[in-house]
């Protein structure tokens, strides 16, 4: 619907060309799993092809912009992971200090590295990667205004995007399959519930701060076992209603970054008590030693603590966890970087280890290596279903 309006608007505009560009990337991803899968329908190795292209067109001296970013993944085994998405499809009009956006966009809020609590506009495209940093395009009308008191943003989101989950043959999933076709919503409007959000962000000297408020469908579903028509037991996503107040804060001093993200939430799940309040925070430091190794290598230390007040069956994975990591930037011609992070659950000692490295090859290629390990996974932890899913991934990307 929005897209149709968007195209209609575009067709009416005079073609005053200013800047137009297509840029694309084609990726091939290989994953090797160290252990046999828990479910015989899953596989040891997996190949995937991805393609993303971005088209943008600016006119009226950049006062207007149209962006179109389709994305597709073809997966060897997992039919749920093979999917198409419009990461972006929007039109922007600038009026002085204000910007109006109509269409599908990606918006990021927050400052921390190990967990993104405040970031809520976009749904996670979870089949892409466990870290949830890949996002689905969110349909919206948004207005942004910049003045001396900071940036003010209003979002109205008329259509909800469901989280993506691995299919039967995919790894990195719960033992029971999540059946998105059986999704349930707290709101009678289901996906058509109109979500809204407000954000204020500002820079005051060495402080970067943001305050946000969200009202609408929670992006994170509760997964409830249910028997479906064919007698199979599956996990049914239930999307509650959520009000969330968020704060993100960064203090930058010398080689130190001090970071904090915090949320206060009120969930309406339709069960008693109807309104459940909770809070969560993630905060810590990043310190960098510059040029300490030969050839100007920078070594950073990341230390973050994750807290969530929810417990029992509501408890998320990161509720009393500590994440320690290092970021190594080699500052070479190929932009070689390495990020290693260990997150430990302080209640159960379950450990999640992630190592990511990337490097450019020539002028138009890059290679990314990623290893994810799940250790000391106790049956009562959320990592338990992933206990045999340690993997090594290599991605080759060609840019053109």
């Amino acid at each position: 619907m929005i897209q149709r309006y968007l195209f209609a608007v575009l067709l009416l505009l005079p073609p005053v060309l200013c800047a137009t560009e297509w840029s694309s990337e084609l990726g091939i991803e290989g994953r090797y799993f160290f252990e046999d899968p828990l479910d015989p329908r899953q596989h040891d190795n997996n190949l995937s092809l991805t393609f993303e292209s971005e088209y943008y067109h600016d006119w009226q001296q950049g006062e207007q912009r149209f962006v179109f970013t389709p994305y597709v993944r073809l997966d060897q085994h997992d039919s749920e992971r093979s999917h198409f998405d419009l990461r972006e499809l929007y039109w922007r009009r600038t009026f002085g200090d204000s910007d109006l956006y109509i269409g599908l966009r990606k918006v990021f809020w927050g400052v921390t590295e190990s967990l993104h609590l405040v970031d809520i506009i976009n749904q996670s495209d979870l089949v892409e990667n466990l870290d949830g940093e890949d996002k689905l395009g969110q349909p919206m009308v948004s207005l942004s205004h910049q003045n001396e008191w900071g940036q003010w943003e209003l979002f109205v989101m008329p259509w909800f995007r469901e989280r993506t989950f691995a299919g039967v043959e995919g790894r990195l999933r719960t033992p029971l399959i999540v059946e998105s076709d059986y999704s349930q919503y707290r709101s009678g409007d289901e996906e058509e519930h109109i979500d809204s959000a407000l954000r204020w962000s500002h820079v005051i000297d060495d402080w970067d701060l943001g305050l946000s408020w969200f009202h609408g469908t929670d992006r994170t579903p509760q997964l409830q076992p249910a028997t479906i028509n064919n007698g199979n037991v599956v996990l049914q996503p239930y999307y509650a209603q959520l009000d969330q107040l968020g704060l993100d804060l960064q203090y930058t001093y010398d080689s130190w970054l001090w970071k904090l993200e915090s949320v206060a939430r009120r969930h309406d799940s339709g069960v008693s008590p109807t309104l459940k309040r909770s809070s969560a925070a993630v905060g810590g430091i990043e310190y960098t030693w510059y040029g300490i190794l030969p050839a100007a290598t920078d070594v950073g230390l990341v230390l973050e603590y994750q807290y969530d007040s929810r417990d029992g069956s509501d408890a998320p994975s990161a509720n009393n966890d500590i994440a320690i990591g290092t970021r190594i930037t080699f500052n070479d011609v190929q932009d070689t970087t390495l990020l290693a992070l260990v997150a430990t659950d302080l209640d159960h000692r379950a450990r999640f280890i992630s190592i990511e490295g990337s490097r450019r090859l020539g002028e138009t290629m890059s290679v990314t290596l990623e290893a994810r390990l799940f250790s000391n996974t106790q049956p009562q932890t959320l990592l338990y279903p992933l206990r045999d899913d340690d993997y090594l991934e290599i991605v080759l990307t060609h840019y053109f």
Binding site: D58, G62, F108, V111, V203, T288, N331, Y399
Partner: protein, 267 residues
């Protein structure tokens, strides 16, 4: 070289912290003369308002193998502070769309933000990496950021003639202890106060790099910009050549184009 009283007063206030150092460091007036040359060079380049340009970097390793980077740059001159700048990366293709915002300051450390287009994320980064290489080149962040008079203490060394020009040679010592340099020797021509050469000495006072400027052009009948800058690292044998193109002044930029939200929209 006429100056109003208020300008004198201003430079007096701005350089007050340097005065005791000047008083003790030198009896022969070389400190004063070095500072005067730096102030005059700065004065001649001030008032440009804003500028934009594109830049091609050629990185050459000791075997002569080359790689290219293309960037675009927008600068806004600030009245009582260092410049604000946005740099947009066009190539290599994997970092295309990445943009860098900096607020340079005369005394305190710069503010810097990086926009990562894949995540649509703006990150405030620590500005203490000034001695680190910029995009894997032989230029450090501190070499390319706005050169404010207050960032160094000065000493006049000598006069020298080459390429048919008379030059001043001054030494400047970075005030910031985190700088990668102990000192720099700067050659400016006496006619226009343009920099033609800088020799960089590392913390051990060994010659590290030499930067040579060439192909100067004058804009708005006043401001000189070198189209070519060649940095040679004597310790590694690597070099980086910068070729500046499409210099434009008086674009009418204002501070709203140098914010985090503008960084996300930069193309």
């Amino acid at each position: 070289m006429k100056r109003t009283h208020s300008q004198w007063l201003l430079s007096l206030v701005v350089f007050m912290p340097l005065i005791p150092a000047a008083a003790f460091a030198s009896d022969d007036g070389t400190t004063q003369r070095g500072l005067e040359i730096a102030i005059e060079a700065d004065r001649r380049d001030s008032g440009f308002g804003d500028s934009s340009s594109s830049l091609e970097m050629t990185l050459r390793n000791r075997h002569g193998e080359e790689t290219q980077r293309q960037l675009r740059n927008k600068t806004l001159e600030m009245k009582d502070d260092g410049d604000k700048a946005i740099i947009i990366f066009d190539t290599p293709r994997d970092v295309k769309g990445t943009a860098f915002l900096s607020f340079t300051h005369k005394v305190k450390s710069d503010d810097q933000w990086l926009y990562l287009p894949a995540l649509k994320r703006v990150k405030r980064i620590a500005s203490r990496n000034k001695s680190g290489p910029f995009m894997g080149s032989e230029f450090a962040y501190e070499d390319i950021s706005s050169q404010e008079v207050e960032k160094y203490s000065y000493r006049f060394i000598k006069e020298e003639q080459f390429d048919g020009r008379d030059h001043f040679v001054i030494e400047r010592d970075p005030v910031d202890p985190k700088s990668g340099y102990k000192r720099q020797l700067v050659w400016l021509d006496q006619q226009e106060y343009r920099i033609w050469k800088i020799a960089y000495y590392d913390r051990k006072d060994t010659l590290l790099k030499t930067l040579v400027y060439s192909d100067y052009h004058q804009y708005l009948n006043r401001y000189w910009r070198a189209n070519i800058m060649e940095m040679i690292n004597h310790q590694t044998g690597k070099s980086t050549r910068l070729v500046w193109r499409d210099y434009r002044f008086k674009n009418g930029f204002d501070e709203r184009e140098f914010t985090r939200s503008a960084l996300k929209k930069a193309r």
